[in-house]
Symmetry: C2
Subunit: 426 residues, 2 copies
Amino acid sequence: MTQKISTESYKGVRDFYPEDLFIQKHIFSIWRSVVESFGYVEYNASVLEDANLYKAKSGEEIVNEQTYTFTDRGDREVTLRPEMTPTVARMVASKSKELVFPLRWYSIPNLFRYEKPQRGRLREHWQLNVDLFGVESTDADTEIISIAYKIMRGLGATDNDFQIKINSRKILNDIYAHFNISEEKSYTLSKIIDKKDKISEDVFRDSIRETIGDITDDFIRVITNNERLIATLGSENENTKELITLIEKLNALGITNIVFDTTLMRGFDYYTGIVFEVFDTNSDNRRSIFGGGRYNDLLDIFGADKVPAIGFGAGDVTAQDFLETHNLLPKYAPTAQVYICVLKDDLRDHAGKLADTLREKGVSVAIDLSGKKVGDQMKIAHKQSIPFVIVIGEDEVISGTYPVKNMDSGDEVKVKMEEIAHIILK
Amino acid sequence: MTQKISTESYKGVRDFYPEDLFIQKHIFSIWRSVVESFGYVEYNASVLEDANLYKAKSGEEIVNEQTYTFTDRGDREVTLRPEMTPTVARMVASKSKELVFPLRWYSIPNLFRYEKPQRGRLREHWQLNVDLFGVESTDADTEIISIAYKIMRGLGATDNDFQIKINSRKILNDIYAHFNISEEKSYTLSKIIDKKDKISEDVFRDSIRETIGDITDDFIRVITNNERLIATLGSENENTKELITLIEKLNALGITNIVFDTTLMRGFDYYTGIVFEVFDTNSDNRRSIFGGGRYNDLLDIFGADKVPAIGFGAGDVTAQDFLETHNLLPKYAPTAQVYICVLKDDLRDHAGKLADTLREKGVSVAIDLSGKKVGDQMKIAHKQSIPFVIVIGEDEVISGTYPVKNMDSGDEVKVKMEEIAHIILK
C-alpha cells in the first residue's frame, strides 16, 4: 500500500478527458445523424465473444496474432471482439426466421487488437458499423457507398479531400480463372495484392513471380490497367458490368470522386463481391480512412439460410486524424450553459432553487460550490469555458432581478428570473 | 469448417437487438439529460486497466473472486474494469495540477464481473457514474443525492416508488470508538453489517457475537435505532449533525423520501463519509437500485494531493428492472420516419433523389430495396413500425404529387414534395 499506483492508462488505449470525448462525441453524432437519416437502427452486443466465432472467416493474421483471447474461470475461450461483422452476422443468423428483411442496422462498438500502437492504429478503437442485410442488387451497394460518402461530407470534407476506391472480388476471381490460376495460388496472390501499397514495386513483382512464374508480367499489366482488364474479360462480363452500373448509379446521385481499382482487396476473407475504401487525398495523410464490402456467405458458418449482406466499418481514430489533417476539429463546449456564483455561502440554497427552475426550462446549470471569493468563482467558470455567469448577492434575492453575464462578450443584462432561460438558450 | 458455429452470445452478457437497445438508449438518454442539466461533462476510458489498480481499495471479494483478469502477450496483468471509480480517480490524479476544480464528471461505462448470472446481476452491465471532485461541504453531498433523486423521477418514478437510505461511515466509526472496538474488528463488523439484508437475524447476531462477544446486544440496539444512536453519540457529535444538515438541505429542495439507516454500508472499502442507496419500495422488486458515497482518500493511492470526492453508480440492468416492475418501459420506435415503396424497379432512382431531398430537411427515410410487390413492401414498413409510407408510381413522377400514408391511422394525403417533410415532422 506504500507503493504508489500508476496513473497511466493501459498501453495502447486512451483516456478520454472531457475535451477528448467531446471530439469523439462530435464524430459519433455525425455518424449517427447520417446513418439514421437513411433509416438505420442501432444494435449492440458485448465486447466478449466465444473465440470460435473468429476462427472461421476473419483471416489468419487477425485470429492468430492480433486478438486478445483468454480462458475464463469456467474454462471458456473468450475473445475481446477485434471486429463487429462476425457478431452482427451471429445476431442476424440467430433470429433469421423472425427478423423482417431488409435490415438496416448500425452500431458503434469498441474493438480490440493486440498490436504495436502507431498512428491511426491503437489497441482499442471505436468503429461505426453499417450493414444492410437481405438485398442482393446493386441498389444496396449504391446505398451503402452513398452513406460512406455522406459521412465524409458530414465530417466537413469536400469531394477533393477524399476518393472512393471500388473493386469487386468477383472480377478478381474472373481474372484468376482467365489465367488458369489455382484456388490455392489465388489465395496467396490476394494476400500479396492486399499488401501492394506497403511494399516496393520490386518486392510486389517478385512475390507474384514466386507464385505464378512466367505469366507474372501479363498478370500485373491486367490488374493495374482498367481498360486492359475490361478488354481481357470481354464486354459481356457480368461482374464488370455490375461494377459499371454501380458507378453510374453513384454518379446519378452526385457522387463522382470514385476510382475503380482492381488491386483493392480489403483484408478479410469473408468478402464475396463489391469492396470499397475511402482514401484521404491530402498528402500529409494519404491513407485509407475506412472501407467495407459485400459478404453474402458469412451467415453460412452458423448453418443459417443465406442472407446477402453489405456493410462497412469506419474507425474513430482515423476519423479524428482526418479532422485534424483537414483542420475540421470542433471547438470544445462544456455541458453547463450558465454558472451561478454566490457572494455568501448562505445564498447557495437560493441559488439551488433558481438552478432547479432554470433546469426545468431546459437550461444546464452548474452552481459554484468552491467556497472561494466571487472573482475566483468566475475564473472557474471562465477556465471551464462556461458561456454565461450569474452572480447572486442579497440584492438579487430581494429584487428578484439577476445579472446575466456573457463571458465571451463581457455584456451583462439584468433580468427577472422568467427571462433568464430565454437569454441563455437563444 | 463443417461444424457450425453457435449463434449464442457469451454466457451472462447480452445481445442488444434494436428493440432491446431502444430501451437502453431511453435509460441513457434520461441519465444524460439529468446529469447534464447539472452541468456534468462526460469522460470515458478503456475497459482494459492494469490489474494493480484494483488491488488497493476495491474490497477483497471483488478483486480476488469476481474480476476478469488475464495476462497479455507482453506479460502485463490486465483487468476488465469491474467498476469505474478507480479509473476516474486515476484520471483525476493524473492531471490534478491542470484540472480546474470543482469537477463535475459523468460517464456511462460497461463493467465486468465474473459471477453467476442472476436477476439484476449480469457479467457485463452499463453504469452511469456521476462524480463531483473538489468540494468537501455537504452542498456536494446534497447535489449528488439530488441528482440521484431526479434520475428516479426522470425514469418516471413517483416519490412513493422509492426511498433514499443515507448513512455516514464516520458515524459508524464513532460508534466503533464508543464501544472501544479495534480497527481490525471494526472491519469485520462492517463486512457483517453490509450483509445484514442477505442473512437471517440470528446469523447476523451470531456473527457479530463471534467478533465482539458480550457487548453484541448493546451494539445492535444502537445501530438499529436512530434515536438511541444519536443519544449514545451525544447531540454535539459533528457527524450526526452533518447528516442531519444534509437531510434538511434535501428537504428544502423538496426531496423527502429519505431514511437514515446506520446499517447501510455499501460494499467498497474506499468510502469515507456519507453513503446512500436508492431502494425500490415495490414489493415485487424490493431491492437496492443504485447508490454511492463520499471517498475523500482514494487519490492517495496514486500519490496525488488529496481531493474530496463524492459520487454514485447506477446500473442499466436494475434501471430496466425498475421500469418493467413499474410499467414504465417506452414503446419502440424505429429510426426511419417514412418508407418509400416503388411500383416498378426502375423508379428506385427517382425514389433515391426524393429520399435525399427529404433527408436534407431532417426526415429519416428508408427506401424499399426488397424488389417485392408493393403490398409486401408496405408490410415490411408495418412490421418495422415505420410510421409513414409513400408509394411511387409513374403518375407520381409525372405529377410531382405524392401520397403520404399514416400507417397508424390509415389516413393518406396527396401533397407536393415541398410539403412532405412538414407532414412527417409535425
